[in-house]
Amino acid sequence: MKIEWTKAPVGRRNFLKGATALGAAAALPMGLGGRAMAAEGGTLRVRSYGDLQSIDPAFSKGVIDEEIHASIYNKLIQYKPGREWDWQMDAAAMIEQGDETHIKFALRDDIGFTNGFGAMTAEDVKYSFERIVADETESPNKPDMGPLSHVEVTGEREGTIVLKEPFAPLWSIALPYITGNIVSKKAWEAAGGKATTDPLAESGPYLRDSWSPKEKTVLKRNPDWKGDAPAWDTIEILPIDDENTAEIAFEAGELDFTRVSLGSVQRYRDGVPNGGTLLEYPSLYYTWLGMNLDHPKLQNKKLRQAIQHAIDVPSVLEAAYFGAVDPSTGIIAPGLAGNRPQSLVPPQADFAKAAELLAESGETNVTLKLDTLNKTTFTTAAQVIQATLAQIGITVEVNVLESGAFWASADNEDLQLVLNRYSMTPDPYYATSWFITDQIGHWNWEQFSNEEFDKIHTEASQLTDQAKRDELYRRAQDVMEESGAYRFLTHEATPVVHSAGVVPALRPDGLALLRYFGKA
């Protein structure tokens, strides 16, 4: 081989030398031994499973945004940290239910907005709440405000929330959650009524200092905050979607608080590194196996009941959730009104009864397709269901789908069995809302339609008597189960770990209320 070298301003020798030097420089271990533990210096580092999407409560996509909103804005009331669902005063100095459709409130007089937008007034409350339900806002969070009519301003810091009809979730969802955040009317109007990812005006104990997309959101103590002083100077929220990565970061001392995977619970029960603590909370999620009532293969109720009895829930949970969760009795989690002490079909499989029901159905050579998300937990659960149904002679083909395709199942006419999981807010109204007749074609994939269920959903949301609500929602789940279209599996769980220097403040479902986090 003969090479002809050409003349070039950059010599090849120098090119090689430079590259070698640069490579050596990059390989130097700059950070050796220089890393501080996360909780030092008044900085709390917590993991969020996703990144901020909107700073506007009207367009918040859920808990990820709300963790930030709840720290930089105020609500009339906030969730109270603890193991029981309850609320406490925040921006409200007084709040009381006058009658079933009128809630009077008075604001504290020491809360102001940043950027020169002045004190928080009842006009701000009116603006914040009414813009959520206004048609022109097109807020996806509008249902959380239920039948809000308007807010009457009766004084600079006093007003009355007026509902069109009674709405019990006002106290558990509307006011203490996303839609309850009070924004500055002046700031929002000055910006044309909408904010994207930069705060227009903040009022909470923390201010958003910076946001590096996909990297970090930094909250700093609000110097003008007159309420109880927050414990941390700075809170860094790191979006980490993978729980295993978050666990490694926690063990490396780079996180003070994170949710951990169910697979790691046993390991952390034996001891949390760096003197940390494991806390196990129940979750509000609900997971179930659904059967499409409209599908020709699933018209026979006896067949559906046979499937219900043939699925051994403890085996599913042991394999898919490492035994770290409990069986559920329906769609409403423990701690909420309507949670049933037990389901109609016991969690343990009864293969004899299932075989009997299958024989009664007259169906033979049953072959069904089970759709599930491409997550290990769900594919494992699907495989266990496949194995248990095989014991009574039902063949199941597991169809694993990517999330986009899976969540489009409302349009899938061939949907037969589906392993599903929905999220929840702390009111039973939220759970039942997806299974009413109106939701067929949207989120009611089982095509379940029952007059009694629909009636309960409407009635129970208007009741303020918790005992009556409890009774009605329990009955609603009985109705679901009696249809044979549902086999309830679990509410999952929320295991979290925190470092030794942190006193976490959590909702009863283990989600973080960052503004109340303390120091040990």
């Binding site: 081989m1 003969k2 090479i3 002809e4 070298w5 050409t6 070039a8 090849r12 020798r13 090689l16 590259a19 070698t20 640069l22 490579g23 990059a26 390989a27 271990p29 700059m30 950070g31 050796l32 031994g33 220089g34 999407q53 909107s54 996509k61 859920g62 048609d135 097109e138 996806p140 969070n141 509008k142 249902p143 994207t196 990812t197 590096s212 997309p213 996909k214 990297e215 970090k216 790191l238 979006p239 980490i240 979607d241 993978d242 990565t245 490694i248 970061a249 063990e251 490396a252 001392g253 780079e254 996180l255 990517e402 999330s403 986009g404 395709a405 969540w407 489009a408 349009d411 989120w443």
Partner: protein
């Protein structure tokens, strides 16, 4: 050379157009209503209709493609439907993180790979050569995600030498955060480059000009490093250029495992949420990076070896 460069970049542009068009059609062929996925279960019908119209999803696909290229020619990659921010801003905010990661991987893997390969070639069929071969093959065979996780456990959790997550702030901190992910995705390239350089050098070492150099009594170290290595390094330039594509795909999982911001993670997140404007913006930029780096590798080769200009 100029004609060759023009021809090469013309081809690159054609490849870019084909790749982006195919990706455009593919993302629209996947099942699932993007508007419903983007907005979630509780979006009002009015909002869904407005977004459908904004994204031109109510138009035939050919028209959507025309609109996309029309906007692209005006430098408009669209608006992120979630945040309302410019896609160009979002993509170019994430791009430097990925470029640093790829550059870091190339620098260290090329440096070590060339060194190992050259050393092995200078000592053929010796114990050193066999050890180098074993190391190289082991590096090539080591799956990058395994290396990533093990390096995290050893160097971040146990020894706490390097940070486990994030990208850092400021130059030195960013460099510090780069070490483990760059190590993870560059390791297999060390082995690959080492094997390549060794084979190439052994071929070159048998050439007449090397024998001539030796006959003139030139120091063996100089013969190896100056006369042989700089010829043997030619295939490495091509491999690195083509390797940009592989490194881009490796960057995806590195960004997930190390919770780093970057283009790869942005694409994955956007595909699962069917965020079309971001997907197309990211694909355009990453495909552009790939074709440009391949073209540049060809140009460097043509510059170093004039025969390459007429080889096609």
């Amino acid at each position: 050379m100029l004609l060759y460069a023009l021809r090469r970049f013309g081809l690159a542009l054609l490849i870019l157009i084909v790749a982006v068009t195919v990706m455009f059609l593919m993302i629209r062929a996947v099942p699932g209503d993007p508007v419903q996925i983007m907005l979630g279960p509780r979006a009002t019908p009015e909002l869904q209709a407005r977004l459908t119209a904004e994204l031109a999803l109510d138009q035939p696909i050919w028209k959507q493609l025309v609109i996309f290229y029309g906007n692209l020619l005006q430098g408009d990659l669209g608006i992120d439907v979630f945040s309302g921010r410019s896609v160009t801003d979002i993509v170019f905010q994430q791009l430097p993180h990925t470029l640093w990661l790829i550059l870091g991987s190339i620098i260290w893997s090329a440096t070590l790979g060339i060194g190992l390969g050259a050393y092995a070639a200078a000592h053929p069929n010796t114990l050193i050569d066999r050890i180098t071969a074993a190391i190289s093959v082991s590096f090539v065979a080591a799956p990058a995600f395994v290396v990533a996780l093990l390096s995290l456990l050893v160097f971040a959790v146990h020894l706490q030498w390097f940070p486990a997550i994030g990208a850092g702030e400021g130059f030195w901190d960013r460099l510090n955060h780069l070490v483990l992910p760059a190590f993870a995705i560059g390791l297999s390239w060390v082995g690959y480059i080492a094997r390549l350089v060794r084979a190439s050098m052994l071929e070159v070492m048998g050439e007449s000009h090397i024998r001539t150099a030796r006959a003139f009594g030139i120091n063996e170290r100089r013969v190896v490093l100056v006369y042989a290595l700089r010829i043997a390094i030619l295939p490495v330039v091509t491999v690195i250029g083509v390797g940009m594509g592989f490194l881009l795909s490796s960057a995806v999982f590195a960004e997930i495992v190390f919770a780093r911001p970057g283009l790869g993670k942005l694409v994955i997140d956007s595909i699962t949420t069917r965020n079309y404007p971001i997907v197309m913006g990211s694909v355009l930029i990453s495909t552009g990076l790939f074709v440009v780096s391949t073209a540049l590798a060809d140009l460097i080769n043509a510059w170093l070896d004039p025969r390459a200009r007429t080889a096609h």
